[in-house]
């Protein structure tokens, strides 16, 4: 059995179908690249949020690698799907998946958080049109994405809108204003994904402001709810397919993830929510754990990005 991209870049209908396992392998490769690029850019920036960038790498890789109709040569195509990174502090991960798919340059995007760089600490549409909107103030990206979904539906477009939320972000009241609104307007072209890594800036969600029962909250707001392992690529892909068939209701995928996933010394430690400064040794150790070769590590950390 083969799964297919819902539509393929450019001359889509001529592209061959790919077996599911090949696509899963491609997505895993992309996710590994994202994690390596995240570590390298945050090391070079001497600040940034590694934990929440690493936890969403598989989700972003699945979205950009299979689920969404987006392609770098058509970033203004009105029929494209939209992605909004509502948890804007995971910008390094967005830049990395963008670089992997050709939306931006792999080397230039290493110049994270630098003066005169287009790769600011949080995504800005004025610098990078393909990021769809500027985010960084939690809760707002969700509402902007909702507005896109509402507008596309009004215009009878078949495009879908995806937004990635942080778990701590769900403490913003605006999220629940939007949750009520999206359900009321039956925005079935709207899919939110919660990167549920259980940790926020200072401590565990439970200690700061409890989110549970989280799935029940979304159900009570009349959303279609799926709960998955956010690091299982087959599960992510099959869930996107399933929620894509939802009618009359928006969908939320609660993706259980591990903060700092892929870097053993960061996993599940709130301190790595950042903004942190990585030492050379920490960056090398992380890249090694993420499967980078000696030469790749040197390139990531030393190449001139300006």
């Amino acid at each position: 059995m083969a799964i297919t991209l819902r539509s393929i870049q450019g001359d889509g209908d001529k592209a061959p179908l790919k077996p599911a396992r090949d696509i899963e392998t491609e997505i895993a490769t992309a996710a590994r690249f994202v994690r390596q690029h995240v570590i390298a850019s945050i090391y070079r920036a001497t600040s940034g949020h590694p934990g929440g960038s690493l936890s969403c790498a598989d989700l972003l890789a699945a979205l950009f690698g299979a689920e969404m109709n987006v392609w770098p040569n058509a970033i203004n195509d009105p029929s494209r799907d939209r992605f909004v990174l509502s948890k804007g502090h995971a910008a390094p991960a967005l830049y990395a998946i963008g670089a992997h798919h050709g939306f931006c340059d792999k080397t230039e995007s290493l110049a994270l958080r630098k003066l005169n760089s287009r790769f600011q600490g949080h995504p800005h549409i004025g610098d990078l049109p393909w990021v769809e909107t500027s985010t960084g103030s939690l809760g707002q990206g969700f509402s902007v994405a909702l507005g896109m979904a509402m507008g596309l539906k009004l215009q009878k477009s078949s495009a879908r809108v995806y937004t990635l939320l942080g778990d701590g972000e769900l403490q913003e009241g605006e999220i629940w204003e939007g949750a009520m609104c999206a359900a009321h307007h039956k925005l079935d072209n709207f899919c939110a994904i919660v990167d549920y890594n259980k940790l926020q800036s200072d401590a565990r969600n439970d200690a700061i402001m409890r989110l549970e029962p989280l799935a029940a909250k979304w159900r009570a707001f009349d959303w279609a709810v799926a709960e998955i392992d956010g690091h299982s690529i087959p599960q992510i892909l099959s869930t996107f397919r399933r929620v894509g068939a939802t009618r009359e209701r928006p969908s939320v995928i609660i993706a259980h993830t591990i903060k700092g996933k892929g870097v053993p010394y960061m996993e599940n430690i709130p301190a790595w929510h950042g903004s942190v400064k990585l030492t050379r040794e920490q960056a090398e150790e992380a890249l090694q754990a993420l499967g980078a070769t000696h030469k790749e590590i040197k390139d990531y950390l030393d190449v001139d990005a300006r």
Binding site: T133, G151, H185
Partner: protein
């Protein structure tokens, strides 16, 4: 026992108010500006967009009593090619200033915020409802155009102008019946003030409901031989610096008048512009850094020192400062 078959009469939803002028203009322009969608937070009858809801229900979007989501969602609607008009009371725009900042202004969306019920003009609802800080808050956002038209004629013209303009705009309407200032030959251009009554001794620069009061003040001053110029400065940002310089040069003294805190609104904008170009004595008429209170708008204008008499007194004071300097 008697039954009342009739619904209670709604208060303040009709009349020659700026919000009514806006709502009617928007409705009549909607067929020409086909991408316009109107966002409401359950106060369409108050903001005037009930006219649009009736004429174009398919383009009227209800967001419920949730202004932060509404404000940011306007950014998304604009992102997919629509022209969103966010409508609510001025005081509720304040609770969504950050959404306007990030999701409308930083992103340079072609979205408009139209706020009714600004200032003491709100009247009996009292201090909690009277936004006296909105011009300052929105003026401080980079790239945000800020407009406060003076009368129903100008409101209709400004409504067309903001639809033709590409970029984020904050525009005040008004709750109470507004005095007519302009004839049907009036023109409006964003960023341009206009002289509504000429004079040589002092210039009163006003916006919104204060323009009518400024004209009244000029009449009061005329009784004591002072010939005051009145400028309608409907665009607070970008401010018409060229006209201000001319007025400073020709009359040598300025009074600003606004239904807003004296800090950060029209007075601030005028002072900033003139301090850097042609300094002259300025007096500021506005609410003096306090909150409002319940009362009828005219009573409040007197109680808080923004009525015609207060403007006239300020004009005399600024003229005396001119003579000393």
């Amino acid at each position: 026992m008697s039954m009342h078959a009739e619904a209670p009469a709604l208060i303040g939803t009709s009349g020659d108010s700026l919000r009514e002028a806006f709502g009617k203009a928007l409705s009549s322009l909607a067929d020409e500006f086909k991408n316009v969608v109107v966002l409401d937070a359950d106060i369409a009858g108050g903001t005037g967009v009930h006219h649009f809801r009736k004429s174009h229900p398919e383009r009227f979007l209800q967001f419920g009593i949730a202004e932060q989501n509404m404000m940011a969602a306007a950014g998304g609607l604009a992102a997919v090619g629509l022209q969103p008009i966010v409508t609510t009371f001025a005081v509720f725009c304040l609770r969504a200033v950050e959404q306007a900042r990030l999701s409308l202004a930083y992103t340079r969306r072609n979205a408009k915020i139209v706020a009714s019920h600004p200032g003491l003009d709100v009247g009996p609802d009292g201090g909690s409802a009277q936004a006296l800080e909105d011009l300052a808050a929105f003026r401080a956002i980079p790239g945000m155009t800020v407009i406060s038209p003076a009368d129903p004629v100008e409101m209709a013209l400004a409504t067309r102008a903001i639809l033709e303009f590409d970029g984020p705009v904050y525009m005040r309407t008004g709750r109470s019946p507004a005095k007519r200032v302009f004839g049907d030959d009036h023109t409006f251009e964003i960023g341009k003030g206009n002289i509504v009554r000429d004079g040589k001794d002092v210039t009163i620069v006003a916006c919104g409901v204060e323009v009518a009061r400024a004209i009244e003040a000029a009449s009061i001053l005329a009784e004591s031989g002072i010939i005051a110029r009145v400028v309608n400065m409907a665009t607070i940002k970008p401010i018409d610096t060229a006209l201000l310089k001319r007025c400073a040069k020709e009359t040598g003294a300025i009074v600003t008048a606004e239904d807003h805190n004296v800090h950060g609104g029209l007075g601030g904008a005028v002072a900033e512009a003139l301090a850097q170009t042609r300094p002259c004595p300025i007096e500021f008429i506005g609410v003096k850094d306090v909150f409002g209170a319940s009362g009828e708008p005219e009573e409040l204008a007197t109680a808080f020192g923004i009525d015609a008499r207060a403007i006239a007194e300020a004009a005399k004071k600024v003229i005396s400062r001119k003579k000393k300097s």
